[in-house]
């Protein structure tokens, strides 16, 4: 039995503008000690799906269906109290921006103590010792001294280390890392990823890493699920995703990663267009408005995630024939048929400010902000 089994999970939010299908029928499993990378653009539903595992997307306007089994226990039907006992104890989570994720008015040590004492019946002193032990474990120098510091007195990387210390203080079986390195300097990013990997093997924790950056998960993930518009469009072992990806969207993600060995003047190829509105998804394959290989039939038929012949554990939701996809990918790799963004989608590309704005809203279930402030 897998540690986390998600089956046909949908998270829809009712808003004044219509139903936002943030997550629309996704399934995946994570085994003990395993790492799953969930990759996708802003608004692909990757964060919402993980927040739902934590029970943090429950709200009056959320409609959640499907199944989330953790350690054999169904979480979707669990009461708030039952979920609360699991949160921060069996399943822990770290977030994108460690500065805003730590309470500015409380000392770092005290925040970890609180996490420990919420789930364990230990004295303050014991919890404090545990906090210091954890701070040392995540590589914070002089942990006894730094436990008395406030979050704003830490650097970005240190804050994320403190977040990780807090998340792992109760030996969780599953750690969900939501864009754990996005807000950090590039040099610090690698350190944080290494740290997560090291602690994972030490504690035998399963990890779900959510990111928009395939580079982040390339080394640490065992499997990768690529999400687009609330669905998983491709799911495979990490090596397979990099060696033989089958979905045009995955190709796009791969060609937008800069490589050290390519010529300096080689241009990166962006994926044309922008993510679709989750209220009003395009008919047929939801990627069709941005897909360079679209055929008229793709605008009518909705592809399902199906196993790829001859590739173990590899699933893809694409209407192109397997042979066509293999041929296209081979050509793309050899550079004989360079990915040319379709002219008509490029015109539709949003200005850079719009992309930044999208990026900023990432990580929060957007619909809850929609109904805010009725006065």
């Amino acid at each position: 039995m897998a540690l986390l089994e998600i089956d046909n999970l949908s998270v829809h939010f009712e808003t004044d503008d219509g139903i936002v299908k943030a997550v629309d029928g996704i399934s995946y499993t994570v085994d003990r000690g395993q790492t799953l990378g969930i990759v996708g653009e802003s608004g692909s539903g990757k964060s919402v799906s993980s927040l739902t595992v934590m029970g943090l997307s429950r709200s009056r306007n959320a409609r959640i269906s499907g199944s989330i089994k953790f350690d054999g226990k169904e979480l979707l039907t669990s009461s708030d109290d039952e979920l609360r006992k699991i949160r921060g104890n069996d399943i822990a989570m770290i977030f994108q921006d460690p500065l805003s994720s730590l309470h500015p008015f409380y000392k770092v040590g005290a925040q970890i103590v609180e996490a420990v004492r919420t789930h364990r019946n230990v004295s303050k002193q014991q919890a404090y010792d545990r906090a210091i032990e954890m701070l040392g474990l995540v590589g914070i120098p002089e942990p006894r001294k730094r436990a008395e510091s406030y979050p704003h007195e830490f650097s970005g990387g240190m804050r994320q280390r403190a977040m990780i210390a807090m998340a792992l203080a109760n030996d969780p079986k599953l750690l969900i890392a939501d864009e754990p390195t996005t807000a950090l300097d590039v040099t610090v990013q690698a350190q944080i990823l290494e740290l997560i990997e090291r602690l994972q093997s030490e504690f035998d924790t399963a990890v779900v890493v959510i990111t928009h950056d395939l580079g982040v998960v390339a080394e640490m993930a065992d499997e990768i699920a690529v999400m687009y518009a609330g669905r998983i469009v491709e799911h495979a072992k990490t090596d397979t995703i990099f060696a033989g990806p089958e979905h045009p969207y995955t190709w796009g993600l791969l060609s937008s990663i800069p490589k050290l060995d390519s010529p300096r003047d080689e241009e990166l190829v962006p994926i044309a267009g922008r993510p679709p509105s989750l209220i009003n998804l395009p008919g047929g394959c939801s990627f069709h408005p941005r897909c360079p290989y679209v055929k008229p039939a793709h605008m009518k038929t909705d592809p399902t995630l199906e196993p790829v012949a001859g590739s173990d554990g590899h699933k893809v939701a694409c209407l192109l024939a397997h042979e066509t996809r293999q041929k296209l990918w081979r050509e793309l790799r050899e550079g004989t048929a360079p990915v040319e963004a379709r002219a008509d989608v490029m015109q539709d590309a949003p200005p850079p400010e719009a992309i930044e704005a999208l990026e900023e809203t990432e990580g929060r279930p957007a619909p809850t902000t929609v109904e805010e402030q009725p006065s």
Partner: protein, 320 residues
């Protein structure tokens, strides 16, 4: 921190000089009744008025008057004497201060006790009938002028005039605390409630908006992700942040009220600083006006300073 406080205090002194000068100039420039004529009583002789003018120093040029006033103030901490009854301004103000402080502090306690719980409940139960009702009442309370609320409350609830439930002491019953604490409190209940109405409404709305804002912060999500109970999330994590700006406006509001709650004091005939200022303006009693303006300015400046110092303790990110 200490140098910061010293610097602020020096600024405060400069500011008080400016305030006193402006008050003086406004008094000279703007049309007002002649204090000497008012002092002289009915059908005075010109000689009497001239004698009074000379006696009060009103015959000297205005800048000389100001300089004399400042000299006495700086050298002897002497605020001068009332034009109308020759009582020392300092004495009068210290005489009136307890009533104003009683009204302001008591009212503040009442509005915090009412406003803060309503703000919290409204934020937690956002969008419910409870929230809508509370915010509707709050809007009414903010919109209603204090003198109107005061008069209506006397009409409905005062022992002498109350038409609905004559349960509280009405107007003009103020007794100093030192004389009779029970009479003091019972006379102030209605003024406290009236003064607190608008403030409680403002605080409830402000806290509600703050708390809703804070509850959307990332660190609240972290608190929930830790598995904390909702009560602890709201009170220890949410309220802790949301209450800090409330401390700021509370300090300022209290400072302003120590300078005199003119309307409430007038409606309930409470002998405080506000009433004193009001009467002094009507009687062109410059020294009293100066005294009340300076004490009000001093209260606001000090409140401001205390709030800023307090902030360094409330928010660890703030350093001076």
């Amino acid at each position: 921190m200490v140098t910061y406080i010293i610097r602020r205090l020096l600024w405060a002194i400069l500011l008080l000089f400016v305030v006193s000068f402006i008050t003086f100039v406004m008094f000279i420039l703007l049309p007002s009744a002649d204090p000497a004529v008012l002092r002289a009583g009915r059908q005075p002789t010109p000689e009497l008025i001239a004698a009074i003018r000379e006696n009060l120093g009103l015959d000297k040029p205005w800048y000389v008057q100001y300089l004399i006033y400042m000299r006495d103030l700086v050298l002897h901490f002497d605020f001068g004497y009332s034009y109308q009854n020759n009582v020392a301004v300092k004495e009068t103000i210290f005489d009136r201060l307890p009533a104003t402080v009683s009204l302001a502090v008591g009212g503040a306690v009442v509005w915090l006790l009412i406003g803060i719980p309503i703000g919290i409940i409204s934020a937690i139960k956002r969008g419910t009938i409870l929230d809508r009702a509370a915010m509707g009442f709050a809007l009414l309370a903010i919109s209603a002028p204090v003198y109107w609320v005061g008069l209506v409350s006397i009409y409905l609830f005062s022992k002498d005039l109350g038409k609905l439930a004559p349960i509280f002491q009405g107007s003009g019953q103020y007794t100093p605390f030192t004389e009779d604490p029970i009479a003091w409190a019972s006379a102030l209940i209605l003024p406290w409630l009236v003064l607190a109405t608008a403030f409680a409404a403002i605080y409830a709305r402000f806290l509600r908006a703050n708390l809703l804002d804070v509850m959307g912060e990332d660190y609240i999500r972290t608190a929930r992700a830790k598995g904390l109970g909702e009560r602890r999330v709201v009170f220890k994590h949410g309220l802790r942040s949301a209450i800090t700006p409330i401390v700021t406006i509370f300090g300022l509001d209290l400072g302003i009220l120590i300078g005199g709650a003119i309307l409430t004091e007038t409606v309930f005939n409470i002998p405080g600083i506000g009433r004193l200022a009001f009467d002094a303006i009507q009687k062109s009693d410059l020294p009293i006006v100066q005294g009340t303006v300076l004490i009000a300015a001093f209260a606001v400046i000090m409140a401001n300073l205390i709030v800023d110092i307090l902030y360094a303790f409330l928010d660890p990110r703030v350093r001076y």
